[in-house]
């Protein structure tokens, strides 16, 4: 039986980048992690909230055993393109704290047929950041695996 190790979603986690924080090789203290809550935009037309963005609590049953840290969420990649773009709107309740960020990352899609019964598998390789407006951002591995707890760490002030 074939069990795929590959993932087509990037596990993302936000970190608060405080002045005293030292980020080395994309690693930040775990206490700086920011819990993320996604809310639907009522009546939003131009802005689409992806229904597949899931946090630990809303993951499908098949992913229940993964050790995903609290506060992490998943960015599904576009299966028809070699790049995926995302828009992040930070809302803290006050208009002054409203912040809009963009993120685009690219990847190489590799397709591999396993067997007629197992179907085909897709691997995202050579993942790299193309454009972003965050303070700092770091991909750890250039290949997305389901065993990765967090693929992408985003640092915000």
């Amino acid at each position: 039986m074939y069990v795929s190790r590959n993932n087509t979603e990037a596990a993302v986690r936000f970190y608060a980048l405080r002045p005293a924080t030292t980020v080395r090789n994309g690693l930040a203290p775990a206490r700086n992690a920011v819990d993320t809550i996604f809310t639907l935009v009522p009546g939003g037309r131009r802005i689409r909230i992806f229904p597949a963005i899931a946090t630990e609590a809303t993951r499908p049953a098949g992913y229940a055993n993964e050790s995903i840290p609290p506060g992490a969420f998943f960015l599904p990649t576009n299966p028809a393109r070699d790049t995926s773009s995302y828009l992040f709107i930070l809302r803290t309740g006050t208009p002054a704290r409203r912040r809009v960020d963009t993120l685009t990352f690219a990847y190489d899609r590799k397709l591999l047929v396993i067997t007629p019964n197992c179907g085909y598998d897709q691997q995202l390789d050579n993942v790299r950041i193309v454009r972003h407006t965050f303070d700092s951002i770091a991909f750890f591995n250039t290949t997305l695996f389901i065993s990765d707890s967090v693929n992408l760490r985003i640092f915000i002030r």
Binding site: A52, P79, A80, R109, L111, L112, V113, N117, G119
Partner: protein, 284 residues
């Protein structure tokens, strides 16, 4: 002066000891000569191997294991016998011409295979994403066989050898895209994206592999020679892959794991290239 005398004394002692030892070495007996002769006879095969190549026979044939595979696989499918047969032969087409040029009284052979293979794999599990993978190409193998039973049999052989294989092929994949987040959901009642089905073509690929082979060649009737070849193969490289990774290699088979084992059965027609000199060995 004393040092020189000491050296001479040691030299003379060694000389006397050497002469005594020489005198104690027994002279070779008749039994020893026979044993040495037997040992040299057993090495005659290697002498033949090093001798100037003398063509012994040419075998030309084909690999019939493709036909046998379908027959053997047919009873174990989920459908009826005829359906399983039809499905096997419609999804796999393979033809191979093989030749062996045998040298030095059936001691070793140069082997060459040329073939064509076309394989289509479709999703067999309705719970999986539907796909169709097609792979078409030609291949060749070149190698060498050494016959370990050359002294016992005339036309039979128990071989051990190696092969180098190379293929040029093209393959493509037609598959559905599944991603609810990006709108790729199969729902005929709604408008799903036009590019819901993706085609990934990939042409002009090449790959190489090596094999260690062992096999048997038996004269079945007159000039007809049959035999199996058991192969342990490992892939060397694949060139020209884009997004689609090779699932099959013509002549090699499915690409899974570092080592692959396969079995072929060949039928040859043997054309003798050397006149026989009586019945010196066991012959059928």
């Amino acid at each position: 002066m004393h040092t020189q005398l000491g050296r001479w004394a040691v030299f003379m002692l060694l000389l006397v000891w050497a002469v005594q030892v020489q005198a104690q070495v027994p002279r070779p007996t008749r039994e020893d000569s026979i044993a040495v002769k037997k040992m040299l006879d057993s090495l005659s095969a290697f002498k033949l191997l090093l001798a100037v190549p003398r063509p012994y026979a040419l075998r030309v044939g084909t690999d019939v294991s493709y036909f046998l595979n379908g027959v053997f696989a047919a009873p174990f499918g989920a459908e009826s016998l005829s359906d399983n047969l039809q499905r096997f032969y419609s999804s796999v087409q393979r033809a191979e011409v093989s030749a062996e040029l045998v040298f030095n009284d059936n001691l070793y052979a140069l082997a060459a295979d040329v073939g064509y293979a076309s394989v289509t794999r479709s999703s067999a599990n309705p719970r999986q994403t539907a796909f169709q993978y097609r792979n078409t190409g030609s291949y060749f193998r070149l190698g060498f066989d050494y016959n370990f039973f050359q002294k016992t049999f005339d036309d039979q052989a128990v071989n051990l050898g190696f092969r180098y294989g190379r293929t040029t092929f093209s393959h493509d994949l037609i598959a559905e895209r599944i991603s609810p987040a990006w709108g790729y959901v199969f729902d005929p009642s709604k408008n799903f994206p036009d590019d819901y089905e993706q085609t990934v073509p990939n042409e002009r690929l090449s790959a190489g592999w090596i094999e260690i082979v062992t096999g048997l060649r038996v004269r079945i009737w007159r000039g007809i020679v049959g035999g199996y070849t058991f192969r342990v193969k490992t892939m060397l490289n694949v060139k020209g892959e884009n997004r689609l990774l090779a699932n099959e290699l013509p002549g090699f088979g499915a690409v899974r794991g570092a080592l692959k084992i396969s079995f072929n059965y060949h039928l040859y027609y043997q054309i003798p290239l050397k006149k026989k000199r009586g019945l010196g060995k066991i012959s059928q």
